[in-house]
Symmetry: none
Subunit: 136 residues, 4 copies
DNA sequence: GTGGTCTAGACCACG
DNA sequence: GTGGTCTAGACCACT
């Protein structure tokens, strides 16, 4: 039987990220961190919507995005499940996206004038929390 | 007397950042890197708009944002100048922005499944290019 | 200046595919067939919605999917453009998807009891219409 | 007397097709391939449901669909049997379905950028496995 | 009950 | 004007 994981997630209204993005990021992180087991059932669209006090469409959008990216399997009439991990993107696409993220990050952070060590330490810490496993 | 720095900047249409953001980031980066000297005059709004082939409103918006953050001084009738360096943001605001940028970066990069060292190395390299000073 | 390609597309109500999917397929096909040039602007979300007599959200969804797949570049405030082609998926993911499509197709077609040659000829013809270019 | 064919079938949870569809496809495929003889009895609805560990309603739905299409005969009180072969669909219906399947397949596959030969070879191979006869 | 799709209409950021 | 996001509520298919 598949446990309906209660799913720890919270929407921060002050966060500049749109709600659907917060849900996507939150779930993806938990999957990567191994806090959600492969095959486990997530809360239903309507259920999570109620829990987070947002519109079901917003949750559906987040679930759809995660499915499109291969993180979730969604089966009409049954529910949404953690998919078996796989490398979906080509090497060039991964490199392109890393570059884009780095450029954006530098742009955001450079103005703050933090010492490089401090920034690196923060990133390193967060990365450490999330990447215990190797390539799928 | 004020040199009219020609200002090396280029707008990349493929870049996902809005144009104003590209201008802001670009100028800020050059100030931080010391490529733009304190007191130097920037091109006029209309001038830069023409040079970059973008809407003058867009350039004005970028200049305004940089002025609001304390990077530029706008002197009516004279033009726009690089402001004297000082602490441009409150401590809490800086911390908040760093945190925001880190979270976003992690969210973007976590899905790519790169080894942490590689990510850190990229960040470190880019940071090194831009932050020769310790603190402002 | 970027031409606003009028975009030949029609929604078939009898088609079992959802509307957004029809739009996605139609545009993707035209891009692959080279009927839409890289960099060309597509009709605006609202414009195409009116042309096809569907809800703007539906068009937006289609455009979003195509952007997520890397076929389109969408720039807020400017419009939607044909992106430069690139291979976004990993080799294994491509193989997986081909397999899935083949299985589904066989399942659909096997019951119809057409001679294999006839089926192959149809596929071949349609494929020929769409694949004049090589890998990006 | 009617042999109770044990019916080799397996439901794949990862398969994007709904369960009823998988059953329909599987049985149809075996009939077409001649693995199920005309007149042979199929497992009862409840029996197959138990064997596959799915809801009996799902099996009943599949059997009904196959009966409606003329592949099975349901004889009250006796069970379900492979029907005698005849033209199960009108000519126009067959053509319509082929067209539909082709369009969907092309839509799925076109984005993967495989050389036409490779796609045709895959289809041809799978078709060969299932269509030993010329016409029914 | 589950997810998927579509419509309608509001509000925001960007140019 | 452009696209992006969210809400609200209806209808459908699947189990």
């Amino acid at each position: 039987m598949t446990r309906r994981t209660p799913l720890m997630l919270q929407i921060v209204t002050g966060d500049p990220r749109p709600i659907a993005r917060q849900i996507v990021d939150g779930i993806r992180r938990q999957i990567v961190a191994g806090e959600l087991e492969v095959g486990a059932a997530l809360p239903s669209v309507r259920g999570l919507a109620q829990q987070l006090a947002v519109n079901p469409n917003t949750v559906a959008k987040a679930y759809n995005e995660l499915s499109a990216e291969g993180w979730l399997d969604t089966r009409a009439g049954l529910g949404v499940f953690i998919a078996t991990p796989r490398q979906r993107l080509s090497e060039s696409e991964r490199a392109r996206r890393l570059e884009e993220a780095v450029q954006r990050f530098i742009g955001d952070v450079i103005a703050l004038d933090y010492p490089a060590d401090e920034v690196l330490e923060r990133i390193s810490y967060e990365l450490g929390k999330c990447v215990p496993r190797k390539t799928a």
